[in-house]
């Protein structure tokens, strides 16, 4: 149980990263690959947040002036993840627009068949 307690978030995060990478590596449908990238992004975000967690800490928000809790989770990773999420959606939107264009040109999304540029 203490193993789980200590590592469950890491397992979740790296599980997502690995599954995402695996999708990119073995799948040859472009949409699948993009889904893999998005899963990987989510995993990375989870990992960052997990790093900043402080056991029994509270969210870093002083909801009323009286709160003087020192035990707050680290706000920095949260700020980073906010940024990373937005970057992720930006990349994804671009990727999908490219996928639409690609489909128009090639009539397929199978990356095995989209190999005009090689060597």
């Amino acid at each position: 149980m203490s193993f789980l307690q200590n590592n469950i978030y890491y397992i979740g995060a790296f599980g997502l990263i690995m599954i995402g990478l695996l999708t990119v590596l073995v799948k040859h449908n472009l949409i699948k690959v993009i889904i893999g990238l998005s899963i990987m992004d989510t995993g990375i975000n989870l990992f960052l947040i997990a790093i900043g967690y402080l056991r029994n800490g509270t969210a870093p928000i002083f909801s009323s002036p009286e709160v003087e809790s020192i035990l707050m989770v680290d706000p920095v990773p949260q700020a980073l993840v906010l940024t990373a999420i937005v970057i992720g959606v930006a990349v994804l939107a671009l990727a999908l627009s490219l996928a639409i264009r690609l489909y128009k040109h090639f009539g397929t999304l199978d990356l095995h068949k989209i190999k005009e540029l090689k060597w």
């Binding site: 590596l25 707050m72 680290d74 920095v76």
Partner: protein, 231 residues
């Protein structure tokens, strides 16, 4: 074969990760920087949401970059979709009109969601949420209208100008800080006010509102571009 090989690679990678993670025990790391933010974030920036004070205060430059990333993606997406569209004949696909319930519901919910989005980013320095979340909410409101009301479109120039003006507000706020407030880019040149009130935290609400509008209009623009493409 290939997947087995990939798995082996990932296992090796995982082993390296596990090895490194062993020096970052979960839930007990403490960072000097993070502690400093928690201790003096309120005094430095006047925001009670420390995440906000980090995002828009200490690391506001990141946020400027991030807004730019979204901006770049929106333009890029527009450019890519526009490049192919030029030499295609426009054919209007027939949309099946949405049911009346959906239509009315959308029209009813739309202002409410917008309002909620605005609330989220205006109160970014006090409560969870901020420009990005608020912007996303606003964009989802438009998305809902697009899906529910089908024919409704926002004005592109309007969206573009909002985007561009709010971006400018961000930069100009920063430059004003450079000019008047302590000679640092993005430094706070407004009074910090009292904690936990709406009009506090100096430039943070201004920036967050700008971000909210910008993110909202950009994401809307992205959706608009994509939907237009799919017609």
């Amino acid at each position: 074969m290939k997947s087995v090989f990939s798995l082996i690679l990932l296992v090796v990678l995982g082993a390296g990760v596990v090895f490194t993670l062993s020096s970052i025990p979960f839930g007990s790391t403490s960072s000097d920087v993070g502690e400093y933010y928690i201790d003096s974030g309120r005094a430095d920036t006047g925001a009670t949401n420390i995440v906000t004070s980090v995002v828009v205060g200490y690391r506001a430059f990141d946020t400027l970059g991030e807004v730019t990333v979204l901006f770049v993606a929106a333009i890029g997406l527009g450019a890519i979709l526009a490049a192919g569209r030029e030499n295609e004949e426009k054919k209007k696909a027939e949309w099946e009109p949405a049911s009346l319930v959906l239509y009315t519901g959308c029209r009813f919910l739309f202002p409410l969601i917008l309002l909620f989005g605005a609330y989220v980013f205006i109160h970014g320095h006090l409560t969870p949420g901020g420009g990005f979340q608020g912007g996303a909410v606003i964009a989802s409101a438009f998305l809902m209208v697009y899906l529910g009301c089908r024919k409704k479109r926002i004005s592109r120039t309007w969206a573009r100008n909002t985007e561009s003006i709010s971006g400018l507000v961000f930069v100009v706020t920063g430059l004003t800080g450079l000019a008047v407030g302590g000679h640092y880019f993005l430094s706070n040149f407004l009074p910090e006010g009292t904690l936990n009130t709406l009009f506090s935290a100096g430039i943070i609400p201004i920036i967050y509102i700008a971000i909210g509008l910008k993110v909202g209009s950009e994401l809307t623009g992205v959706i608009d571009d994509l939907i237009e493409e799919s017609e």
